[in-house]
């Protein structure tokens, strides 16, 4: 005889659940595939955005390294001709590192020791933080009552006056905004700023003197030409004016300066109608549509470069250039051979040889300069696109628009999965009810459905993140060219892939909660119903 004794139902081990679910998924492969595709699409979208944003960040960093020399040249050309103002000084000082060139300049100009420069640098860094994070963030209208007409570093000097500070305090309280630090901290900074004012002005004065000396040395020549004048003596030349530059940086800048001069020379060729006409003839482009790109494109190949070198060695060219008062075309550090004065046969022979060598060397240099210039153009293009895409960086490097799109794609995904799962639950009413008659607990049914969804989430997540990675790389490739592959941050992207998969699983688990709840609540007597 059997006696009935009721206990708690055992809990099914996870392994058994997974086994049962896999069995079912295999049976409903088509429906599962649809769910997987939905998840894959959402995850792919996320992953594309992640890949693009991360690659563009890396490319941006790399660009900075590559365009560094260009920026250094610009920096040096301007600082040799125009003295710094307080605002610029503060910006540069905030970036100065102990012992680097600027640091040593400040030491010399301000007659300061390391401690002195350090306190200046620290104070300047704080100043930049207040400017960037507070004063630039409020509108002109909001700033007026606080500091009057002052802008930039002058704000801090203005607030050094006690009555202006008092106004600032009351107006700031009215504004109801946050400073990067507490107000007390800010006031401490202002006192410091005031006490360092003498040192700053001493530096500015010394800088102005250095610029005057440099101007005298330049003697109306372009600063670029001066900087191109050989890297060995450049530090010494600059040191005489009071500027500090190390040998390595001087080397980089002089190379960059020479390239810049070469570029100018090649560009100036286009001013000569003869060159325009010949180029139009050669490239079969109308004279009116000839531009620098046409020239660069043509002479970046060796035959084009040779053509230009030969053209610029003809008497026809000399005549045309002479009319425009342009010097003979030679690239920097190539010496034009001088024709011999007498009738000496040997000298004539040597000149002929030299001239040929000059044309060949010019051709080779022309080609290199053109290539370098084209590469620079491409970099500038990438820079622009990276800057645009990097504009208004928000959460995780996404713009608010992208973030919004991602959120919408997630919502659509969750709704889609919920719908698919609900349909699946409805179809399986009898099966679920039967399972309950056979002893399945509500918890098991719930876990069953969520597990099923999670498995689809894993599959969809993996497919989606792979797809998204490929798409993202392709899109980066279009905008950044080969740099996208060179700068691909492998480890970070792998981590992003992991995150994308986890996101897929979480989304599908979330989407399954309601259908699973519906299934779990189903009355077991539904099994008895006959359609």
């Amino acid at each position: 005889m059997k006696t009935i004794e009721v206990k708690n139902q055992v809990r099914l081990p996870l392994g058994k659940c997974v086994e049962l679910v896999l069995n079912g998924v295999r049976f409903r492969l088509f429906r599962s595939a649809i769910t997987v595709v939905i998840i894959a699409l959402a995850v792919a979208f996320l992953m594309t955005m992640l890949t693009e944003s991360m690659v563009s960040l890396e490319v941006g960093k790399a660009l900075k390294a590559r365009t560094g020399p260009r920026d250094s040249l610009l920096f040096w050309s301007s600082r040799l001709t125009s003295p710094m103002n307080e605002q610029e000084l503060t910006g540069i000082m905030a970036q100065a590192k102990a012992g680097d060139d600027r640091w040593r300049e400040f030491q010399a100009w301000g007659a300061l020791d390391d401690r002195g420069v350090a306190s200046l640098a620290e104070n300047s860094a704080a100043a930049m933080t207040y400017l960037n994070d507070f004063f630039s963030q409020i509108t002109e209208g909001q700033r007026r009552p606080l500091v009057g007409r002052a802008s930039g570093a002058a704000i801090f000097t203005t607030l050094g006056e006690p009555d202006r500070l008092a106004t600032f305090r009351t107006e700031f309280a009215k504004l109801g905004k946050q400073m990067p630090t507490s107000l007390g901290e800010f006031e401490k900074f202002l006192t410091e700023w005031k006490s360092l004012s003498a040192a700053r002005h001493k530096i500015l004065k010394a800088n102005a003197d250095s610029v005057n000396m440099a101007r005298a040395v330049l003697n109306d020549a372009q600063p670029v030409a001066f900087l191109a004048s050989g890297k060995e003596d450049l530090p010494a030349k600059l040191a005489r004016c009071g500027f500090v530059i190390d040998g390595r940086q001087a080397g980089i800048i002089s190379v960059q300066a020479r390239q810049s001069l070469d570029n100018e020379k090649i560009e100036s060729l286009l001013k000569i109608p003869l060159v325009q006409a010949k180029l139009a003839d050669r490239t079969k482009v109308k004279i009116a549509s000839i531009n620098l790109g046409t020239l660069l494109g043509e002479i970046s190949g060796s035959s084009g470069a040779e053509w230009l070198a030969k053209l610029t060695a003809t008497s026809e060219y000399y005549k045309a250039a002479d009319q425009l008062k342009m010097p003979a075309f030679n690239l920097t550090d190539l010496a034009i051979p001088v024709p011999p004065a007498g009738q000496d046969q040997a000298a004539q022979e040597k000149f002929k040889k030299d001239a040929q060598a000059f044309v060949a060397a010019n051709a080779e240099r022309v080609r290199q300069v053109a290539r370098g210039r084209l590469k620079d153009n491409k970099l500038a293009e990438i820079e622009a696109s990276v800057l645009v895409s990097g504009e208004s960086k928000g959460f995780m490097g996404f713009s608010p628009r992208t973030l919004w799109l991602i959120v919408v794609s997630f919502i659509v995904c969750v709704v889609g999965i919920t719908n698919a799962m609900l349909m699946s639950v409805t179809e399986r009413f009898r099966e679920i009810a039967t399972m309950k008659c056979l002893g399945a607990t509500d918890g098991f049914i719930m876990v069953n459905f969520i597990l099923e969804s999670c498995m689809q989430g894993i599959a969809g997540g993996m497919i989606g993140s792979a797809l998204g990675f490929i798409l993202g790389m392709l899109r980066s490739w279009v905008s950044c060219g080969a740099m996208a592959w060179e700068q691909m941050p492998g480890a970070v992207l792998l981590a992003a892939m992991g995150c994308a998969i986890v996101t897929g699983v979480l989304l599908s688990a979330l989407a399954a909660v309601y259908p699973a709840y519906v299934a779990a609540r189903l009355a077991p007597m539904e099994a008895m119903r006959i359609e």
Binding site: M1, I4, Q9, T434, L438, T441, F444, M525, M528
Partner: protein
């Protein structure tokens, strides 16, 4: 069939009080509310069903047989009244205990077989064992023994879709016996089967009842089942019309539905 009737006659009728009661209901009522319309599916049923007996429940369509089954099987809760299974008040059990009850104490057999389509015959039989925590190897052995019992040992790897209705129902019977239940609840087990196959199912049920002492409760329209039942219960319009021992109604069955018996 013939021998079933003979063995049937050997079982003595069971007067109340002599055999232990396994299911008892008290004032069982069920009202389905559908919008404004109320359907009184059960209007107060008091009945005692004994351990190891074979009971048929008869009644016209819509009389409340399935509703009664849901109540005594712990599948649905009554609007009022109580169900005691082995003196345990079903209403007092929580969800997990109910699952335990359904898993081990009661076996269900449905008119539509309700096998899980994506599982093989053997897998279907072992599902309740998995829920009961039986180790896989043991479950497989026991499953094969049960399939042998219903004559489907050779077909253990077939999917339901590859089996006939009778074979599916036999699988369902094997499944219902998976955890050695004390009660088998069969709601029109032969409703979708032809006469011959139905008879096979009947004999299997009778055998389980006799050999294993399982209480078999069958709702049916099939009058042949009367011949193998210990007691017959008529439900009409949600109330018990009549309860009779098999021996008491032989004459009537003969006169009312004699042609159905053979």
């Amino acid at each position: 069939m013939q021998e079933n009737i003979q063995t049937q006659q050997a079982v003595p009728s069971a007067p109340s009080g002599q055999r232990p009661v396994i299911i008892r209901t008290k004032g069982l009522k069920k009202i389905y509310q559908m919008g404004q319309v109320q359907t009184h599916a059960l209007r107060g049923i008091d009945v005692e069903l004994y351990r190891s007996e074979f009971i048929s429940i008869l009644g016209p369509s819509g009389s409340g047989k399935s509703t009664f089954f849901n109540m005594i099987g712990g599948l649905d809760s009554p609007s009022s009244g109580r169900v005691f299974i082995d003196e345990v008040d079903v209403a007092q059990l929580n969800a997990v205990e109910l699952a335990f009850l359904r898993c081990r104490k009661i076996g269900y057999i449905f008119q539509t077989y309700n096998l899980v389509q994506y599982m093989t015959c053997l897998e279907n039989v072992t599902v309740p064992m998995a829920f009961a925590g039986v180790p896989t190897d043991e479950a497989r052995d026991r499953g094969m023994r049960l399939l042998d019992l219903v004559g489907l040992k050779e077909r253990w790897f077939h999917k339901p879709i590859e089996m006939s209705g009778g074979q599916q129902q036999r699988t369902a019977i094997a499944r219902s016996m998976a955890n050695n239940p004390a009660i088998l609840l069969c709601d029109e087990p032969t409703g979708n089967l032809d006469l011959k196959t139905g008879a096979e199912i009947h004999s299997i049920l009778k055998r389980l009842n006799k050999e294993q002492g399982v209480t078999v409760i069958c709702a049916t329209h099939d009058h042949r089942l009367i011949n193998i039942s210990d007691r017959i219960l008529w439900i009409r319009d949600g109330t018990i019309d009549r309860i009779a021992n098999r021996s008491e109604i032989t004459v009537q069955t003969g006169s009312i539905g004699g042609h159905e018996n053979e």
